[in-house]
């Protein structure tokens, strides 16, 4: 049982949270996440959830309290964006290393400075090495699907890691789109009861969480985190399959769009992937063999699977809505290009940094990338490995 509705990304995520009915939510408002917190507060006020809602005084405390709640055996969630995520930073790492299955929607927004409230991925990309699973969504529907699945992924006994559910700020969060909400009971059944193995609140079996971990054991604990990430790949795929059986929707690691016979392709994540589909359709009508790979799972990174999906392209453009300032390209580009090194596939990989601070990225902009790719395919020459799309010269 599900129902078709038209909702904002905010409403969708707040409803996912209502349906998940977490034991604890500790959150602080920040543009463009604020409405999630507001809507969820109303659910709390109206008694629609059992959640103890902790209205913390900062994001640092939001993540700190969420860690405390999760260590206390609660199913715990928070949500944030940009500077809020930055303020949480220290504890974001602690949540992962303590192996707490916290689910956190992140409404992606440019990280200051200068201050800017609009969409890019500099917030979440900065946290790419924090040990959190990261899922990205093309639209509100996928953000919802990811949020529901994230609970199961994070809590899986082979994983036990926190999950960031990313959604483009304003573009998705503030837009109303058609989507399908599952019935409350279906979500409840899908996520199931949370049964933590160890909790602070089991006085029969008291535990110590977060001890000082020195040279003799720290490295072993970090090695375990990598192992959990490795396990997460199978778990994410399995849960996506199960979700697909229930809903007919679902992407495992990525979606391949007209990629089968494609000669040139783009890899993108977030809402831009949707815009890129329109560009691909236009080009296909003109007889251009263009394709698209929309990445859903960025952490862990599906190295082999990506190479397998992209190895027959002549040229691939990786779109990054954030820069690393390494001067050698964006974060997604770095991983994709590294993946191709071992594969020894004959694919030119170029990078387009785009949309920083909410700069609109239109179908024409994406078509211009495909034009570049056609030129590279024809000439065999790459003039600029890293390109800045839509920035004024």
């Amino acid at each position: 049982m599900s129902n078709e509705v038209a909702l904002t990304g905010h409403e969708v995520i707040a409803n996912a949270m209502r349906q998940i009915n977490p034991d604890v939510v500790a959150a602080y408002p920040i543009t463009p996440q604020t409405e999630i917190v507001q809507l969820f507060s109303q659910f709390v006020a109206d008694g629609k959830v059992d959640t103890d809602f902790v209205t913390v005084e900062s994001e640092h405390s939001a993540m700190s309290a969420t860690v405390g709640a999760s260590a206390g055996g609660a199913r715990a969630m928070t949500a944030t964006a940009a500077n809020g995520l930055a303020l949480m930073w220290e504890i974001v790492y602690i949540a992962a290393s303590t192996r707490l299955p916290i689910v956190m929607p992140v409404v992606n927004r440019a990280l200051s400075g200068p201050i800017n409230i609009h969409c890019d991925h500099s917030d979440a990309m900065g946290a790419r090495d924090s040990g959190w699973i990261q899922l990205y969504a093309e639209d509100a529907q996928e953000a919802y699907d990811n949020a529901v699945q994230a609970v199961r992924i994070g809590e899986h006994e082979d994983v036990r890691l926190p999950v960031m559910v990313n959604m483009d700020g304003f573009i998705i969060s503030h837009a109303v789109e058609n989507m399908e909400l599952l019935a409350d009971e279906d979500v409840q059944e899908f996520v199931g009861e949370y049964e933590p193995e160890n909790t602070l609140l089991d006085s029969e079996n008291p535990i110590t969480v977060g001890p000082i971990d020195l040279q003799d054991f720290y490295f072993e604990h970090k090695r375990q985190q990598v192992d959990a990430m490795e396990n997460a790949k199978d778990v994410i795929a399995d849960i996506a399959q199960e979700y697909k059986e229930m809903t007919g929707r679902g992407v495992e690691y990525f979606e391949e769009y007209k990629l089968d016979d494609a000669e040139i392709g783009i890899l993108a994540l977030g809402s831009t992937a949707g815009t890129a589909k329109v560009a691909v359709d236009d080009l296909r009508e003109q007889g251009v063999k263009a394709g698209l790979l929309k990445l859903r799972m960025f952490r862990p990174f599906p190295t082999e699977e990506l190479v397998e999906a992209l190895k027959d392209l002549e040229v691939l453009a990786v779109m990054d809505r954030a820069d690393t300032f390494s001067t050698t390209g964006g974060p997604v580009f770095a991983d994709v290009r590294s993946a191709f090194y071992d594969a020894k596939a004959d694919v030119e990989v170029v990078n387009y940094i785009y949309g920083l601070g909410g700069r609109d990225t239109r179908v024409e902009d994406i078509e211009s990338i495909y034009e570049d790719l056609q030129e590279i395919a024809a000439s065999g020459k790459v003039e600029n490995r890293v390109n800045y799309l839509g920035v004024r010269e």
Partner: protein
């Protein structure tokens, strides 16, 4: 995207441009359309000129950039005609619907605009029916009239459902809102 309709709403912060776009989106969605409704991203300040947008299509919508070439533009406040270029990006066969007491011919001249111009006194209608100037709901009636996006009776039925949700705490305003939609639908003027 052959049957894609893109709409731009002009208003002032507080006039309900965003609400109107969302209401239109939600209602169109109920009639089986694929829709998007979104405000111009950013903080909304009372009185400042604001924008909101719709995309309505029979096909799935994946595009996520801003609307730059709307085929329909709706202006909630006549004073905006002097403040902003409401005709920006509208193709030659586009339509513009304005809340004003002026005639379409006069406005067309004023705007130096090639396409179709429609006017309706949404302030007057809402003042009569709701007791204050809420131009956004009557403008929806006018918009349905001048486009063939939605079938009017079905539209009204869905809007009423939305109003019942939205105004659950003050059901007395539903009738006035419905009447103002009906009147704007009847009273919108073309050249």
């Amino acid at each position: 995207m052959a049957n894609l309709t893109e709409i731009r709403w002009h208003g002032r912060g507080g006039q309900g441009a965003k609400t109107a776009s969302i209401l239109l989106g939600k209602v169109a969605s109920k009639t089986g359309k694929n829709i998007q409704a979104f405000p111009e991203y950013g903080p909304e300040r009372m009185g400042a000129p604001v924008l909101a947008f719709n995309r309505i299509s029979d096909e799935e919508l994946t595009v996520h950039c801003q609307v730059t070439e709307p085929s329909i533009v709706t202006v909630l406040d006549p004073t905006l005609l002097e403040a902003v270029d409401v005709t920006e990006g509208i193709p030659a066969d586009g339509k513009i619907i304005i809340n004003t007491t002026k005639s379409p011919t006069d406005v067309k001249k004023e705007l130096d605009f090639e396409g179709e111009v429609y006017t309706v006194d949404a302030d007057g209608i809402s003042t009569d029916e709701i007791g204050a100037a809420f131009p956004n709901t009557p403008m929806l009636g006018a918009l349905v009239k001048v486009t063939d996006l939605l079938e009017f009776d079905n539209f009204k039925e869905q809007v009423e459902k939305e109003f019942k949700k939205k105004f659950a705490s003050k059901p007395e305003v539903i009738d006035g809102n419905m009447k103002s939609i009906e009147r704007a639908y009847q009273e919108v003027k073309s050249e």
